[in-house]
């Protein structure tokens, strides 16, 4: 089968023409199609810009809030550290000293080792008697 025979076979195909009402139907569809008003693209652009601005503002405010939160947490940590330091200092101050300094000379310093002082004698309010003088 050569090209001429093929083209002859193709030429046997019946020609298809548009139906009689084709033009009227096309015209009807054209009339039914609403033309896009001139302000429509501007409205869409304005809406898109508005959405963009709102979104950017929301992101910016969220970032600002996060920054404030971080600053607040840092301040809180400083306050907690200060509180801990003060609490520690108060506890230290309230604790019974281990030594009582009595005085001293050029040759010696006199202290009382309170761990050696009898608890009973202290609670009974008896006269304080140093149990030992420690000489440095």
């Amino acid at each position: 089968m050569n090209d001429d025979q093929l083209l002859s076979a193709l030429s046997q195909m019946e020609e298809v023409r548009a139906s009689p009402g084709f033009t009227e139907e096309t015209h009807r569809r054209l009339a039914a199609t609403r033309s896009i008003p001139q302000w429509r693209p501007l409205l869409v652009a304005a809406a898109a810009a508005l959405v963009l601005v709102i979104g950017a503002t929301a992101v910016w405010r969220q970032a600002e809030r996060a920054s404030q939160r971080r600053a607040g947490l840092a301040e809180l940590r400083v306050l907690q550290q200060e509180y801990s330091r003060l609490t520690e200092a108060l506890t230290t101050k309230g604790r019974r000293p281990e030594y009582l300094y009595l005085g001293g000379t050029d040759q010696a310093e006199y202290v009382v080792d309170l761990s050696k002082v009898s608890q009973e004698s202290a609670s009974q309010g008896s006269a304080f008697i140093p149990t030992r003088l420690t000489r440095f």
């Binding site: 089968m1 090209d3 001429d4 025979q5 093929l6 083209l7 002859s8 076979a9 193709l10 046997q12 195909m13 019946e14 020609e15 298809v16 023409r17 548009a18 139906s19 084709f22 033009t23 139907e25 096309t26 015209h27 569809r29 054209l30 199609t33």
Partner: protein
Amino acid sequence: MPPTDGELVARISGGDKQAFVCLVDRHKDRIVGYLARLTRDRHLAEDLAQEAFLKLYRYADRLDAERGVTGYLYKIATNLAHSELRRRTRRQWLKERFLLPSGNGGPPRLEQEAHLEKTELQQRVGQAVFKLPLHYRTAVIMHDLQGVSYADIAAATGASFGTVKSRIFRGRQLLKGELGPYLNGAEWSGA
């Protein structure tokens, strides 16, 4: 003297609907005939052709009328038809794959109306043309049935000149393979 296509397009871009009607009357048979061969469905062809004319109306102010309205119409019509045929093929495949599994595992088939051809020969040729891959079918129909030039086919399909010639050659080879046994068996003279 009737107005040229360029004059009609210029009037259409100014909103002249009468010029649009004139343009539709002038080109409707050519475009409907092309789409009917491409889709093998007269109703779909007319619907797509109307859509093509409406698109031409919408974009009339951007057209270079000196290049010829026919080329633009073929291009719009081809794009619309290819999109629709691909959509239908996808839909048919999904339908056969998930809704109505036939179990034969064959390629998706398009449900077409076969009322365009009256004689057996016309039906055979119509079926053979429709069985061609879409790009081959488009090129063969435009060139061998519509008489469109290689350059216009290239412009309408977005393919190069060489690709168009190759598609027509390959399409004809496939058609010969499909129709040869029937035409030789029927001792068809080719006249």
